[in-house]
Structures are given as C-alpha cells and as structure tokens.
Amino acid sequence: MDDDHEIARTQEERKNMEQQITYDTEFYNTTKNRFEGYENSIAVTEEDETIDTNLSQVPRKLASYTAPQSLLRDITRSAEEEEERNGDGNDVRAQSRRIIDKEDEYKRRGRLNRALSPDRVDAFALGDKTPDPSVRTYGEIMREEALKREREETLREISKKKKEEEGKRGGGDRKVEEERAREEVVPAKRRNRWDVDNAASKKAKTSGSDWDMLESTPGIGRWDATPTPGRVGDATPGVARRNRWDETPTPGRVDADATPSVSGMAWDSTPKLTGFATPTPKRQRSRWDETPANIGSVTPMPGATPAGVYTPGVTPFGGIGMVTPTPGQINLMRWEKDIDERNRPLTDEELDSMFPQEGYKVLEPPATYVPIRTPARKLVQTPDTQLYQIPEENRRQEYDLPKEPPGGLPFIKPEDYQWVGPLLNEVDEETLTPDEQKDRKILKLLLKVKNGTPPQRKTALRQLTDKAREFGAGPLFHRILPLLMQPTLEDQERHLLVKVIDRVLYKLDELVRPFAHKILVVIEPLLIDEDYYARVEGREIISNLSKAAGLATMIAAMRPDIDNIDEYVRNTTARAFSVVASALGIPALLPFLKAVCQSKKSWQARHTGIKIVQQIAILIGCAVLPHLKSLVEIIELGLVDENQKVRTITALSLAALAEASAPYGIESFDSVLKPLWTGIRSQRGKVLAAFLKAVGFIIPLMDAVYASYYTKEVMFILKREFESHDEEMKKIVLKVVKQCVSTEGVEADYIRSDILPQFFKNFWVRRMALDRRNYKQLVETTVEIANKVGVADIVGRIVEDLKDEGEPYRRMVMETIEKVVANLGASDIDARLEELLIDGILYAFQEQTSDDANVMLNGFGAVVNALGQRVKPYLPQICGTIKWRLNNKSAKVRQQAADLISRIAVVMKQCQEEQLMGHLGVVLYEYLGEEYPEVLGSILGALKAIVNVIGMTKMTPPIKDLLPRLTPILKNRYEKVQENCIDLVGRIADRGAEFVPAREWMRICFELLEMLKAHKKGIRRATVNTFGYIAKAIGPQDVLATLLNNLKVQERQNRVCTTVAIAIVAETCSPFTVLPALMNEYRVPELNVQNGVLKSLSFLFEYIGEMGKDYIYAVTPLLEDALMDRDLVHRQTAASAVKHMALGVAGLGCEDALVHLLNYVWPNIFETSPHVINAVMEAIEGMRVALGAAAILNYCLQGLFHPARKVREVYWKIYNSLYIGAQDALVAAYPVLEDEESNIFSRPELVMFV
C-alpha cells in the first residue's frame, strides 16, 4: 500500500500542477479518458521508495529478522500505531513540531550530513579575470569530488581483496574475526561522517600493516553507496548483521569520545538532575536513535562553540559550556532553574511582607547554631566536581525570566542563543565597522522574522526584502542558511526562513550565483519532505533560484552532486534538477542530460541523470509530450547498461514517462521496445520487475493490434513469474496482468484459454488472502479480468471456494464476487451456478466469525440485488437465516441480520413476498427493545426499508402501533439511532400521518425539539423537515406554538434551528398560516424572541421567493419597527430579511414598499459593526436588483462629495459596489455636469433626437 500511497501523492501533486498549466482542452481531452480503467502505477522496490517516510526506518531496525519484509512492516506499523493511540508520553513524533523529530532516519542522516559548501566563484561576474584563490571554482570542486570517488573505489577494491583473501583462508578463527569486525565499526563510521577528512584514507593507502588495512576497509563503500539494508546483506553477507548499527548514526557513541558531557541523557525523557550529578559519560544510556546526529562537531554553525551559552541562574558544570547545548540540556536547565527558584530560602523582606507587622518577633539564632557548610550533609546534594564553584548569590535576580533581550527584540529561545549571541552583548553601534553593523542588523531582522509577533515579522520581512541588495548576498546567506540547518528547527520557523530566502532571491537576482549550491543544500531536503506544502515551497524556491541564477550556474552548482557518493545527495539533486527543468524548460536541459546519462566515468552519474528524467516525468506530467522522443532517446542506452541499478532506474523512468504521456506518444517508445522485450527475457529479480513495470505502462499506449501482440509476448514471462515466491514480484505481475488484460486488443478467448488456468492455479490460493496488499491487488486484477471474460467464467471458478475452510480466503472470494456481480450483473449466471452461488453465500454468511468491513454483508446484498426475481425460491431460506440470526446472542450478528434486511428489502418486493416482509416487520417490531444502540439503529433502518417498499397501508404492524413505539426511542442520544429513527418518523409523517392521532404527533414534536441540538447535520436537517411534514399533517397552529415557545430558550443553536423549522413550516403550509402568529410573537418584549421572529422572517422570505410579493405589505410595519430599533441585531436581521424580500420580488411590482423599506435601511449605512454593515450593504445590493441601479444612484449622489471625509468614504463604497454590479445601467442615470472653461463634462449625445 505504501507504494500506492506514494504514487497517489505524486499524482495528486501533479494534478495540482496541471491545473495551473493551460493546454488545449480539445486535444488533451481531460474529461473522458479511454484509459480510465487502467491501473496507472506499478510499484517496484527501488530507491525511490526510500522516500516513503515512516516505513523506511522500520525495516532497517528489523534487518536481522528473516520474515517477509511486508509482514514485518505491518507488524511494526501497528505497534507504532498502538503506541500513538495509547498516547504514550515518549512518542516524540506525535507531539513535536520540530522537523527533526518527524523525519525518518534516511532524511535526517542525509540532511544533517550535508555541510554548507564554501562560496563559489561566479564565473559570469568575473569576465576574463582570474578567480580569487580563496573562493572555489568549478574545476576545484570537480577535482575534489573525483578524489572522493576515487577514494571510495580504492577502499572498495581493498575490501574486496581482503574478502577474497579471507575466503582463501577459509573461515579461520571465527571468534577473532568477529572481534576484529567489531573494532572496524567505529573508525569506518567516523570517516564517513567527516567525508572531507582525507587522513584516514591516506593511512589506508600508505600503511602496509595488515591491522591498518583491516581497520580502514570495511563497510565504507557499502555505507555510502547502498542505503538500503536489504542490499547490504546481499553484498557482504559476512558483516551485514552488524552493519545495521552503522546505518543509524550513533552520535552518542561516536561523540562520547570527543565531547564527554553530551551523552548520558535522552533529550525527551523526564529531566533528571542526575544528568549533572554524573559527569562521567554513560554510553549505554544514550538514546542514539533520538539524539540529533550532529552534536558537537557537525553542528552546522560556523564555529561549534556557542557565543553565549544560556545559563541564567545555574553555573555550568563540567564541559557543558564548551559544547553546543542540546535541547535536552536546555530542558534540564529550565527545570533546574525552576526548582532552584521554588526552593530558594525566603529573604527577610519576603518574610516581612508575609507576616503581619505586629505580634511577631524576630528571634536571634541560638549561639550554638552553625549553618551547614559541608555540602555532603545537605539534603539536596550539589554535585561536587572539579569545576564546581559556589555560585554567587544574587537575590535580586529574576529566576523565571531569561534575560530581557535588548532593543525591542522578540523572545529568544534558548536554542537561539548561540546564533543571536552577538546581539546580546551591549555594544556601542558607533564603534563597529559598517560590516559588523550590517551583520547585527541582519541578525536582528532574522530573529524578528523567526520568533517575533506577526506585525514584527511582517515589518522585518519587508525590511529584509527592501534592503536585500544593500545588505548583499554574502552577509544575508551566511546568516540565513546556517539557521536552516539548525537541528532544532520547527516547521513554522522553516517556513518563515524559506519565505525570507524566496523574497531575498527575487531582489538579489544574479547576485545569488555564488550561493546557489549552498541554497540548494538547505532547500533540497524540502523536496522529499512528507509535508506537501514543504515540497511545494522547496520547488518554488529552486525554480526561483534557477530563474535568478540562470541555467549555467545551476548546472555548475549541481553537477558535482550528480555523482556524489551519497545516495541521498544524488536523490535530492535529481529532484532539484527536475524542478530546474520545469522552470527553465526541458529543451534547455536536454544537452546536459544527454551528456550525464551517457557519462562514461561513473555509473552514479548515469543513474542520477536517468533519475532526473524520471522526476521530470513525474513532476510535469503530460507536458513531457513535446520532448518525449528526446527524453526516451537520452535514457534508452541505460537499458543495456552494465550496472544493474542503472538498468532498473531506466526501466522505471520509462514507466514514468509512459505514465505521464498516456495515452499518447507510443511512437516515441519505439526505440526502447526491443531492449525492453529482450530485457524481460534475460533479466531476473528486481531488474525484471522494473522492466515488467515499464512494459505494463507502455502496452496501454499501443494500438489494439500491437497491444494484443505484445501482451501475448509478455504473458509468457508473466506466466513464468506467476510462480515466483517474491512478494514484490507477485504484486507487480498482478498489476501488469491487470494493465494488459484491460487493453483493447486483448481478446477474451485468449485470456480464457491462456491466462485463466495458470492465474487461478497460482494466485487463487489461501495464502494470498493473508497479506492485505496481495489480497487487494488480486481482487482488483480478477475484477478486471472478469470485465473482459464475463461473470460466469470467474464466478464459476471461485464459487466453490465460498465454502473454503479459511475465513480470510472466503472473504476474498466474496469480495471478488461482489465486485464482479455489481459491475456486470448476474444475467450470465445459469441456474446451476445460481444455486451454487446462493448456497455458498449463505454458507459464508453464516460461518463468518468476524466481519468488520462488512464484506459478507455487501456481497450478499450485491448478489441478491443482481439476481433480482430469481432469488424468489431462496427467499424463505434467507429469511429463516435472518430470523434465526436476529435472535443470536452476539450483538454483531443481530446487527448484521438487520442490515441485511435493509439491503434486500427492494428485491423482496420485486419477488412479491409482501407477506414475508410483513412477517419480518413484526419480528423487527418485537426487537425494538434492543439495548445495543448500534443494533437498534440497524433494526430501525430495516424497518424503514420495509416501510419504504410496502407502503404505509400494508405495513404490519400497522403504523398506529408502530409510531407510539418510536416516540420514546427519539429520546435515545445515540447518533445512529437518532438518525434512523428520525428518518423513519419523518417518512411516516410524510406518507402516513393520518394513521396516527394528532396528539401523538404533538408529543413527537416535543421530542423533536431536543433533536435540533444534534451534532450531526443530517439529523438536524431531517428533524427540521419532519416539522414541516407534521405541520402539514396536523395543521400549523400547534406545531407553530411549540416552535415559537422554543424561541425563548437561551441556547443559540437551538433557536437558529427553530427559526429554520418555522420557515419550513411556513413553506409547507403557506405563509399566511404562519405569519400572523409569528408577527404576533414579535410583540413579546424580549430580545431573543424578537430576533428569532426576524430571523424566521428572513429565512421565510428566502424560502418562499416570489410568493413573498403577497406578504410584503403585511410585514412592512414590523420591519419598519425593527429597522428603527436600538438593538443592532434587530437592524441587522431586519436588513437581511429586506434583502431576501427584495431579491424575491424583483420585477413583481412591489417597488413602493421596497422604496419605503430602503428609506429605513439607508440610515444604517454608517454602522461600523462588521455583521451589521455587511447585512446593510447586502440589503442595498438587493434593492439595486429590485429597484434598479438608477434609484440607488440617486440615494448615493447626496454623499459622494460630502464635506466630511467619513461620509464620502461610505458613499463611495456604496457607489463602487453599485458600479461593479450594474455599470451599464448607470450611464443613463449619471447627473448632468456643466462644462467648465477647458473641460467638457456634458454628454451632448444623450440629447440627440430624431
């Protein structure tokens, strides 16, 4: 499912993108796709799955188990979910807003391992000058990269050689080897983390000693090049097991040597003071999977030592002051501070203020009292370390507040102290150099953006944007980019900082060139973020960057990363390149892509190049069509590449291209058909899966004849792979079969004879039902096959399995039958099969032990409905089963039985089994005392279904008995019961109200009032409608009285629903029956009631529309009064009533009354309350429609040039909405202006006369 999930995600994104792209809708007809039925994605396990968040770390932890991966994933997943559901306090993911806590291992490691590279030279700005030796040029970077790769190669060679030697030695002493391997782990890892450090590799190359060789060799290549643990296992089975510890960076262990004081606490655990009391590092306690990977040495700040450590109130112990405080430490300090503050001794002043002045005496301490000086005897022992100093007492200090940041800066979080440090030192700005001043200014603004209040943030952002060029690219990015690399960054902060970059980019334009790579380093991780908006943001930045810096710079910046040794870097770079391609156009990038994809130097480059093509296809979708041919040509050589990974990614890219261009562009794929087809014959394993996926996507593009031919070709392989035991392969085969089968040219006979036997033999086995994903895939594929070969074939083959002994398998059969029958009907099913089918279904239905997804129920319903009248002979048996099950002890069974009745009620009617239905009705009626609300809801639903089909008159039990039984059930607060009950009551009120005495209906009315409070909208709506039916049945007077009384209640929602109900009653029983009582109610001197009446009027006129013309004159006096009321809400509601009225009667000759009302509305135009002014403006708009724009313009003219500005503003607002609403109509009504000396204002044309 995860593959599907990911694909669905990208597809959705693309869909969003496509909505912005405009294309010729005639050619690219979007409404009806002839390939709609195709599965448009086949998953293959490949690197792109590493993006699949959440999961990728799970298999890693479990790499030593040997059960199938998919199964393990399921298990661990549910364990995780369980934990989350329990609200386990340790669950960081659920609570934290920090990005680092939400990332999986792959992303975290990749992101934090990348360092900001030094600035690069801008080749364009230099012209012919020789670059400054201090900045790096493209050539240097390429050399460095080449060096790194070479080192990798050498190390790999060495390890290979060593392995061979060991192989020769033939085992040797195992214990010694293990020992050795354990020692290898640490140095290998360390070198990886400091990639730039060449010392180790030099050592490896130069030293001849065997020991050194051993130490330096293992795992390095594996670590970098192959990020998935599974593959590691394949490559070097000997050390693989231990290797899994390498996969996760273990800062606790590694850094323990360098910075002893950081380890020893889990940063999310309850802070314990022991962290301070035990200065020796405790390695085993470090929670290596949660602590950020970059403690100490890798901290992205320039200079890891913080400028000012946040230590208010506590003196730093041990080495804390020397390292960057981790969040854990900061938390600890917070606690410490808090506890200190609460426990400090009270001062004399405080004691004075607490006790009364008189009646107390300050005693002298006894002469013998000596305060405890030896710390060991104190209750709370202060740790006694070498560096400990007795803190200086400062009672005046504010313990609970951090130092107030100077100069109106926002609150500074402890995590931020390290970078805003310079701001906290009070210095005289005058003494600083201009550069330092600039830097301070930037820092201040950034701090405001990051931590400030919205207004602060806004102004700071604007200043940063406006002054961007003044500040210069260098100082800005040197401050912003390290911030984005902070391990404690939160989502919101990242968003803000990214926004800053975006704005600044726009202003700096070509000045960003030297920083293009740095920006990419921090932005690229956004491209694989889980958060959709983060991905979009990342894309936007990269696209803006490429527009600002230009293609050449972008290529120069990213070229070295293309064959980076780290897969993460290559992955993100490929994605970034696809964004560049979509920003600058594919043609511009084609030559480069061509060169990269055919690179001779390294397979990594080819792999990334081809991956770029894949990402382009995923990103821009059908817009690849114009370039399809060139893109395919660029990557086609990859199909025969010597490297297996390159072949795989090529096939995947072709699949992506075919998917993006479907249903067009088959001619572009001509050149790859042959290698693909030879490929599926020669390849094995993963590569074969990828090839099959590509084929699966290309076949639907073909013409019918070719599709049929190629399907037959590929079917040969597919049938072979039917027997594969690889789960992944199974899934792909199923999907490809589905794609092929649904293609036009594939004949039913061929499928029947060539595919079905093997297909059913291999896939329709019990084991397939156990894995949820296999299950779903198999059902889908089978349904697709059924669409081609018909119902009888498929159902005939599996119907016997309805009596299988495995319940999951029975369920799978049932689901398939349900879908097939629902799609294709049951007309193909002959008498014998019909008998078998009903028999099997009854068996499966009765034998089920658990059915949470209602598969059996749905299947039963679908089959019965499809068979229609043919079910008649079986109905007594079915009803017998239902009756028996309605009496079952298990609530679930009873509920299901009742649900089944509501599904088959319509068919029973078709079979003229009214007597049987009546019988069932009586049975259900007897079960109305059911205590389980879920079951009761279903029983009510079943009753409703029966009443619906056999009608009120024939219903048994008779309605007059049934309804009184329902009245008490209306009191039930359970949603399902309420909904079904109100539906049933409403149905009876609608169709059979005469069977029930009016008294009973009144009783129900009272119950219904309570239901107006229901949370579910459907229930409230049904209730309001039921009021209408009841009012119709027994006359509006009594119902209305009830409703009007309800207006007096306090609860707002209740009143609102009541007003709606009144309006509905008015609509069903004509307004004249309601209006007198309603208007009479307005005389009650109570705000709520009067407002309720007005609101009802407003709804009423909205509902009755044109009918309102007869009632305007009647309600005008009331509205006059309301529009003159002191209460704002009166005027507001009255204004909205006027609006509805005006809109309803527009053009029906009620202008006199409307003008009269407008005169009352108009004085309210100066109201400031938003709701009131809104209602008034809308009323005026309504009047514009009813009276015409000219009338309103005349009202306007008096104030357009009023001496008071406030008045003018309001009048112009009205004029503007008038103008926008009816500009043309105003032409005839504009006032006559006199000409002035040099200007013509009159409109002589209007006085022309023929």
């Binding site: 809104n1174 112009w1212 004029y1215 503007n1216 002035e1236 200007n1239 204002f1241 409109r1243 044309e1245």
Partner: protein, 87 residues
C-alpha cells in the same frame, strides 16, 4: 475598528473594489469622476448596437464612423486635466 476586524471581508471590500477600473474613492475630484462617466457612456454607446444606430441616424454618419468617433473620444474625453492648485 478592532484588531480582528482588520482582516475580515468588509475591510477588504474597498480594496477589492479598487481593483476595478472606474471605481471611485473619497478623494476623487470632479474631473476624474467626469472622465469615468464619459468613458462609461462611450463604452455603453459602442456596446449597444441600437443606440449606436440611433446616433448614426441622428448625426447622418455611418455606424462604423460613429463607433470610431466614440472610441476616439474615449481618449481624453474631457480634455486635459485641470492644474492642481493644492500640492
């Protein structure tokens, strides 16, 4: 006005209106408004064919000529703007 009102639709109404050509505001003077009126009028004449033909008959001109004239008049319909005395 409260802080919360600053963001609701009413406060934006004027801003929304200002996006349309021809809308006015409290500082609009007689000349600017007149220009809008004139342009609207001409646009309306040109847009309604019966009116255009009526004018054509009244002025004894072809309809095309009338249309052309009206369109030409939409440039500076009231002549040059008056000198601003207050600044």
């Amino acid at each position: 006005m409260q802080a919360s009102d600053r963001f609701n639709i009413n406060s934006q109404l004027e801003h929304l209106q200002a996006k349309y050509v021809g809308t006015g505001h409290a500082d609009l003077n007689r000349f600017e408004w007149a220009v809008n009126i004139q342009r609207d009028s001409y646009a309306s004449y040109v847009g309604h064919y019966p009116i255009l033909s009526y004018f054509a008959i009244a002025e004894n001109e072809s309809i095309g000529r009338e249309r052309y004239n009206f369109m030409q008049k939409m440039l500076l319909p009231c002549g040059l703007p008056p000198e601003r005395e207050e600044d």
